[in-house]
Each structure stands twice: as C-alpha cells, then as structure tokens.
C-alpha cells in the first residue's frame, strides 16, 4: 500500500507542476508548437460592452441552424415527384402532393421531435437574419467598419446577402402553397432581367415554370453550397477579428493602442458558451410555443391555387413591399419589353442598396478624407451625418417592409386598400428624406448634453423630525463610476496566498 502511494507521488512529481494537462500540452507543443499561440489566444481580450454580443446572436443562431438543419435533412425528400398523401392530417388525405411537401408534413407529424426541430430551424433563421442586421447597424453607427476593418465589413454584407438568399431557398423547399407562390414570383423576377432574363430563368428552373428541377436544385444549394460558403466567410470574419483585435468605445484607460475587457479564458469563454445555450434555449422556447409556417394548413402548391395575404419571410418583405408600391411603368419598344415595374424594385433597388453597403467604407473615406486607422469607436451622435444617412436607409427599409402588408394594415384600420397603398407610396419617399434632418438634429442635440450616456442619479428627499425637507444627491450607479482599478495585462502566473482560503471562482495553481 505505502509502496504504491509512494510510486504514485513519484509519478506525479515526474509529470511536472501542471500534471497531466501540462504533460499533454508538452506533447502537443513538441509536434505543433502551440504553446505561445495558445497562451496568447487564452489572453485575448474581449471588450465587455453589451453591443459586442449582437454578432454572437447571429453566430449562435447559425450554429442552431446547422444542428437543426442536419436533423431535417435526415427526413426531408427533395423531390417534385407527385405522390398521394395518406397521413395523419385528414384534410390532406388523398391529395396529390410532391414528395417534398409530403416529407415535410410527415417529419412534422410523424417524426419524433420533428415539428420542434422544424420550428426551431425556422425561428433560428428569422433570428439569424435579424441579428445580422442589428449587428451590422451597431458596426455602422459606431464606425467600426473604418480602416483597417473594411474587408470585414465587406464579408459581413456578403454574409447578410447569403443569409437572406439561403433563408429564401429554405423557405421554398416544403413546396407548400405560400412558398410556391414565392418561387413563382422569383421566377418572374428572373424573367424580367433584360436580354438574359428568359435564359436565366430557364437555366435555374430547368425549363418553364414550375418544372421538376427546382426543388432538388434549391435543396443542394440550401443544405450544402450556400452553408459552406457561409461557414467559410464566417471563419474569415472571425479570423480577421482575431487578427485585427476588437474595437472598443473610448473611456477610462482605453486607447488606440490597447483593448480593455475580459480575457478569452475563462471569463469570456464562460459567458459566450452560456450565451450559446441561451440562444438555443430561446429558439427552442419559440419553437415550443409559437407555431411557425404551418404548411399543413396551406396545403400543397398548385400553380392555379392562391391565397390572399401571402407574404414572404420578414427579411424579404422589403422587396415585396417595393414590388407592391412601384408604379406600372413598363418599357415596351423596338420589339422588346423591359418590365421596369419588376426590374427596378426587385433587381435594381436591392442592387443599389447592397452596393452602397459594400462601398460605404470607401465612400466615407472619400467624403471625410479620413484615411487614418481607427480602433476606438464613435458614439453615433458624434458623427451626425453618418448616423443620419444610416437612419434614412433604415427608415426606407422599414417603410418598404410595412408596404409589404398594405392589405393587413387596410384590414386592421378599416381603410381602403387603395388608400393605404397610395399613402405608402408617399411615405416611402417622404419619411427617409425627413429621417435625415431629424436624426441629424437629434445628434447635434445629444452632443450638447453634458454627461451623455451617464444615467442621472435620483435626489434623495428626506423629511426631518422638525418637518424640514432636505435634498441630497445619491452616488452614481456602479457601472457609471470610473474604474477604481487600473486595467492590467492578464497575469501569467498567480502566486498562492499562503494560509488563505481560495476565493471562489479563482483557481490558484502551483508553480
């Protein structure tokens, strides 16, 4: 017994001060030389400001999309072959449907957990695109896209486009009445492109609409090609983030030459993993309690059927709204037709918007003649012109989105549909123009406010025994107080305090 114990102690001593972990890392470092880089990575500092978490919402909803999506591919059949549905949902019994539709209904009703996974997948998609937009707005309004981060901005805009495109592809796959109408519209939009439109539409759909090629083609794009590109670009996005290090808001101890915050390990790791769980939890709760895209109620797509009040998913809404309000100006001459009523709102408009987004960093460099490298962020009010321009574009998009539900608005407020549409035509033009000066003036106002960003503290009013009232100020909120502690680099070694119990949450290691 004692011999055994001694041997164990000796073995432990032979392993060195860091035990088996240290031994394993030694072996790894012998082969890959990871010690320096790994240590630096552990020390990478992440700013603590909450707005830096917005991109993480997008990243983690993408993770959920991948996980739930893999589940769905196990049961979904990407085929336009016609079968007769005989399943548990009575109103569809005996109807001729495509295999794509049948398998989607079956995976919702007959596969254990299938409906939850499908709904989580759809909700995660809505959240994914929404989080990208919010993250992008944060980056835009704080000037985080400025030199040296223009490339990462470009990657981000590309990711937004890919997310929207893949959302549309996935939305189309079940081949239900609502999504089939969306595909029909997409076909017509392709058809509207001058000169090459008919060829483009025929090549994508393998012939005239609807054809049988489009579901399998959309499927492989949706589950393989586009996700691979997204994964590659997200990796590049994160690599650039690590390489260029984070931006940060100006403040106590923060300069262009440092980053202040929490280290990768363990603080950020704990927070971000927890956040991943929370994103997954919220998605699952939405999937549990809020029904999304009940395709069994819509029934299978049939080109002669149509439902009123059909709208695309929210991120395509601005295109639908633009198509609704654009006047019927078609160009017909010289034996050719250019369907401007489709081409302009559905092709030219998004083309212009996304190209402006791509070009914005260069555009701003040119306008401001600012070619410096920036790591400290702007407060939106410090850059009234940029903020106003962004607010203007967001207003335009919001108005176009609202215009995609003119019928819902008319029904809700008991207005004439025609009136609402005319109003939206006016509002789409007027509100973005008004948004610019209004935002500009508000920014100018905020610049004049002293102590902006700091919350006001209440005054405490007390009444003395004599009935006298006294007002006294309360101390500032904890978060608003300047740091009492100087920021310092992450320590490499921690000396144990002799005879002191370890503080909870702090691991001390033996040297």
């Amino acid at each position: 017994m004692s011999d055994g114990a001694t041997t164990k102690r000796q073995q432990k001593a032979a392993l060195g001060p860091y035990g088996k972990v240290g031994k394993a890392l030694n072996e790894l470092d012998d082969r890959l030389g990871v010690a320096r880089g790994g240590r630096t990575f552990m020390d990478k500092i992440f700013p603590d400001h909450w707005s830096f978490m917005l991109g993480e919402i997008a990243l983690y909803s993408f993770v959920i999309l991948l996980v739930t999506g893999v589940f769905l591919t196990l049961y979904f059949v990407p085929s336009s072959a016609i079968v007769t549905y005989h399943g548990s949902y009575l109103p569809l019994d005996g109807q001729k449907v495509t295999q794509a539709f049948e398998s989607t209904v079956n995976l919702s009703f007959a596969v254990r957990g299938g409906l939850l996974m499908r709904q989580m997948h759809h909700w995660a998609c809505d959240i994914f695109v929404g989080a990208i937009v919010v993250h992008m707005a944060r980056v835009f309004f704080t000037g985080a896209f400025r030199k040296p981060r223009e490339l990462n901005w470009t990657l981000g805009v590309t990711l937004l486009i890919l997310a929207i495109a893949n959302g549309f592809l996935g939305y189309s796959l079940p081949d239900d009445l609502v999504s089939g109408t969306g595909i029909r519209i997409a076909y017509s939009i392709m058809l509207s492109i001058p000169v090459v439109g008919t060829y483009l539409a025929f090549f994508v759909f393998g012939g005239n609409f609807p054809g049988t090629a489009v579901i399998p083609r959309f499927f492989i794009l949706h589950v393989l090609i586009v996700p691979l590109i997204i994964i590659a670009l997200v990796s590049a996005h994160l690599f650039l983030l690590v390489r260029q290090k984070h931006t940060q808001f100006p403040g106590e101890g923060r300069t262009e030459k440092n980053v202040v915050g929490s280290p990768m390990f363990p603080v950020f790791m704990a927070k971000t993993t927890g956040f991943l769980f929370i994103v997954g939890g919220v998605t699952a709760l939405l999937g549990a309690f809020a029904q999304i895209n009940p395709i069994w109620q819509f029934g299978p797509y049939d080109a002669a059927r149509i439902s009123y009040a059909v709208q695309p998913d929210w991120y395509m809404g601005f295109l639908d709204g633009a198509l609704r309000i654009w006047p019927s100006w078609s160009f017909m001459a010289f034996g050719h037709t250019i369907p401007l009523e489709v081409t302009i709102p559905a092709v030219v408009l998004p083309g212009i918007l996304f190209n402006i987004a791509f070009a914005w960093p260069a555009l701003e460099r040119r306008l401001t003649k600012d070619h410096e490298i920036h790591h400290l962020l702007d407060r939106p009010s410090e850059r009234p012109r940029r903020t106003a321009a962004g607010a203007s574009v967001l207003t335009l998009l919001a108005m176009l989105f609202i215009a995609s539900s003119t019928d819902v608005i008319a029904n809700f407020f008991h207005l004439s549909l025609n009136t609402v549409l005319l109003m939206m035509r006016i509002l789409v033009i007027v509100t973005p123009i008004l948004a610019y000066p209004v935002t500009y003036l508000i920014c100018k106002e905020l610049q004049g406010v002293k102590g902006g960003g700091k919350r006001k503290t209440p005054n405490l009013v007390t009444r003395t025994e004599e009935g006298e009232y006294l007002a006294s100020a309360t101390p500032p909120y904890r978060d608003d107080r300047p740091h009492e502690i100087e920021p310092a680099p992450v320590p490499i070694f921690i000396e144990p305090e002799p005879d002191e119990p370890t503080e909870s949450g702090v691991r001390t290691v033996e040297r």
Binding site: P210, V310, F493
Partner: protein, 312 residues
C-alpha cells in the same frame, strides 16, 4: 520559461498575488451568487433530463420544446452568471500592435512579385499570351456546358399556351363547362381539356372564366364575338409577376391579384386600373358549341403572364 516569454511586451504583472483586486469576483457576496447559480444548474439539468424523458415517451412538441429550451436557458444563465460574477472581474488590458510591417519589408515583398514575376513575363511575352489565351478559352468553355445543360432554351414556349381553336374549357376535375353552369357573378378556373392535371396546364394555361351577364358581352372593340352569353375568359396569370389572379369582385367587376393587389377591370378587357401590373390580362376568345359547351376560338393573341425581354 522566461525565454519563452521574451517575445512578449514588457509585462508589468507577469506574476501576481491571488489577492490582486482584478482577480476578485465581481459579486459582493460570492457565496449567495454561487448558491443561485447552483440552483439554475440543477433546474437546467432537471429540465434537460426531462427533455430526454419526454422524447422517450414521445410527448407533445411543446413539452419537448419547453424542456429543451428551458434546460438550455437555465444552464446558459448559470454559466453566464458564473463568468460574470464569480470569475476575475478585471479589468484586463491587451496591447495592440500595429499590423503594418516596415517599409523595407513591404518593398521586399513587392519586389519579389514585380521583379521576379515581371522579369519572367517580359522575357517570354509570347508564352504568357498563349497561356492567358488558353486559360481564357477554358473559362468560357467551362462556363458553356455548365450553363447550357442546366435547362432548355426558352424558344417559343413563353409565347403560346395549350389553348387551340375548339379546345374545351374544363375545370380542375376535368369536367367540361356547360353554358348553364355559371350564373351571373360566378367564377371558375378552367384549363384546356387534357392539361388540367399537368404542371404546364396549371402554370401557363390557367384561365379564369367569369360570367358577366346573360347576353353576349363585348369587352373591347374587335372582341364582339369573344364573350358569348356573357362568358368572359382571361388568362389567370397576372401580368405583373405571374400570380394567379383568382380574386373576383363581382359588384366592382374587378379581378384582383392576391399577391400585389393589381386590379383589372373585368368589363373592359381587364385593363389594369390600380397597382403595379402594366398590361391587361390577355382575353381568350370563346364560343359555345351546339351542345352548349364552352370552347376556345383560338389561343391567346399575346404571351400570357409577366413581361420579359423577347416579348414584343
């Protein structure tokens, strides 16, 4: 180990005491927080286990989602709280080094490309040109079969439907439409007989048949014979984006597209009256044969559906 750290910027705190204020938890009373976190972990673990159990017994979707979502949420909240309140509160700082290299490094890089590569090309312009030409041809050739084999050429398919002189109008069940079938103010979707169950029939040939009056009805000059006994037929494909114009308001006499609310005047050759559609719905000339069935006089006189470049 000091050798290994030599590359690092001078570190003021390479080794600190565990009492350093930055290493202390942010929470004022860590014990309580630890208790709360422990509770969230226990609740989370129970819910995740409940998810497994409810999956095993094939519970309703909302129970699966509630247990899974709740479990993940509580575990996540606990983990975040651990990181936020109990781990070293910092603040910590990291130096930011300029990414740019020295000018001589840049020059050396540029020289490697320009001098070496340029030298090679300058000496062998012919080879460079030939290689470029070959690659150019390859890229065009690679593109051609890829694109070309994706689908057939459009040719005339967008210009014609399957309606012919004498084609019977049938509903989706294949039943021929008799002139007594519809009363004034009625609508039915019809197809050329034989196409009612085909993709093409549904996507291209679909036609709305409405009855406007009991007498022959002329929607426009030159169409005097097209509307026997008040039966009028228009292509069901919206000229805006090809949605089925299935919405008929019989008092307003409007055909409305449910997608983008283009409104077509049914009495007047389906001229667009409101909304984004640029052209009238093409009208199908009809006649009623000796047995009283509705048939087409001919195909549409123009391409149906949305606009495209080749359309005159």
């Amino acid at each position: 180990m000091s050798e290994h750290d030599a590359h690092r910027t001078p570190v003021s705190l390479s080794s600190v005491s565990a009492n350093d204020p930055r290493l202390q938890p942010a929470a004022k009373n860590p014990g309580t927080v630890e208790g709360v976190i422990a509770v969230t972990f226990v609740v989370g673990a129970l819910l995740v286990a409940g998810f497994g159990a409810s999956y095993w017994v094939n519970a309703k979707p909302w129970i699966l989602g509630a247990t899974l979502g709740g479990g993940l949420f509580f575990l996540g909240v606990g983990l975040v709280a651990w990181g936020k309140y109990l781990m070293p509160r910092g603040p910590f700082v990291e130096e930011r080094h300029a990414l740019a290299n020295s000018q001589s490094d840049r020059d050396a890089f540029a020289a490697a490309i320009v001098e070496r590569g340029g030298g090679v090309l300058k000496r062998r312009k012919l080879l460079g040109g030939l290689l470029g030409g070959g690659l150019g041809i390859f890229s065009v050739v690679a593109l051609f079969p890829l694109l070309r084999s994706l689908g057939p050429l459009p040719k005339g398919t967008l210009f014609h439907t399957d309606w012919r002189a004498g084609t019977y109008a049938v509903d989706q069940t294949g039943r021929r439409i008799h002139h007594g079938d519809l009363s004034v103010g009625s609508i039915v979707t019809v197809f050329p007989e034989g196409t009612e169950n085909t993709d093409r029939g549904q996507a291209v040939d679909q036609t709305v048949l409405i009855r406007i009056s009991n007498d022959n009805f002329t929607t426009q000059k030159g169409r005097e014979s097209w509307g026997p006994q008040g039966y009028i037929a228009y292509s069901k494909l919206c000229t805006h984006l090809g949605c089925p114009v299935g919405l008929y308001e019989q008092q307003l006499q409007l055909l409305v597209c449910p997608c983008h609310q283009s409104m077509f005047n049914a009495t007047n050759g389906a001229i667009p009256q409101f909304g984004p559609a640029p052209r009238p719905l093409p009208q199908l000339p009809l006649y009623i044969d000796g047995q009283g069935y509705i048939r087409a006089q001919a195909d549409y006189d123009q391409p149906v559906g949305p606009g495209f470049w080749e359309r005159a």
